[in-house]
Symmetry: C2
Subunit: 171 residues, 2 copies
């Protein structure tokens, strides 16, 4: 943890010696930057709505329009952004006239826990009205819970039982 690689403005990179404290602060800042970039990508209202519709299984342009009541140019822009970012793929399903399916990639599907968690937190802690929809486990109808899961202990746990450790070195 004593070295830190920095990109210079001329494009070359240099290795700097830094204290462990500074390096930790730098790591934390990098982590927060990553979150900010994530939010810049998916943090606007319409993008979230498009993703939520895709999580529910909607795939076709006209179905997104009908489901969300979204203007076509806005939908076009949001779908393009999601495809460019690798969160959705666009596939031709009809030649004349050309019509496309939009499907979530693995990366897109992986956003689901974060977005569902934000929706549920906001419903519970910011909204003054009751949510119009609650989310349940489809096979049994039980309201879902969300949390952290340990495969070794086969248990859920809260944030107090989380510890951060350095990753194992490459093998």
């Amino acid at each position: 943890m004593g070295q830190y690689r920095k990109q210079r403005t001329d494009g070359r990179s240099v290795t700097l010696e830094v204290s462990a404290g500074l390096a930790a602060a730098n790591d934390r800042f990098r982590e927060a930057s990553t979150i900010e970039r994530t939010l810049a990508l998916v943090g606007d209202r319409w993008t979230i709505l498009v993703l939520r519709a895709a999580f529910r299984g909607i795939r076709r342009f006209d179905d997104f329009c009908a489901d969300l009541g979204i203007a076509r140019p806005i939908l076009t822009a949001r779908l393009r952004k999601l495809v460019d970012a690798g969160l959705m793929t666009k596939e031709l399903y009809q030649q004349h006239p050309p019509r496309y399916d939009y499907k979530l990639t693995t990366a897109g599907t992986a956003l689901s826990p974060a977005i569902v968690a934000l929706v549920r937190w906001g419903d519970e802690h910011l909204s003054s009205t009751r949510p119009s929809t609650i989310l349940v486990h489809a096979p049994c109808g039980t309201e879902l819970e969300q949390g952290f899961w340990c495969v070794t202990c086969a248990t859920t746990f809260g944030p107090g039982a989380i510890r951060g450790v350095p990753p194992e070195p490459d093998r």
Copy 2:
């Protein structure tokens, strides 16, 4: 679902008849607005860093400063915002000079799954460098998994097994 209560600019509210389709689109928009309000509250880099430090158990002003390498005026502003929003409480622990503890409320702690999910998604899908920290279940050291949990079936499941249903009426 045929009626819709609207707040007028003069403060009175009126009940409108709307089609079920429009009402559903309105519900979706309200849901996305709630997420946007959540992100407006906690979506900036420093607020996320302060929350992450609090999740790790940090409580005192000087400890936040040392851990995050954050300027004191920025930390003061972020802590005030979090206290005002009901995500943290501020308690005097020393009289002379006055010193305060900042503790997460239930609402603040409840944000943890959303923020951890955003961090982990960004680390995996946006970052070009390996994360400096991985999150594990403290008692056993196994990397945590995150997902949806059904208490009835005692199982985790993915977004494909989620269904939205209307909440039960008040009893």
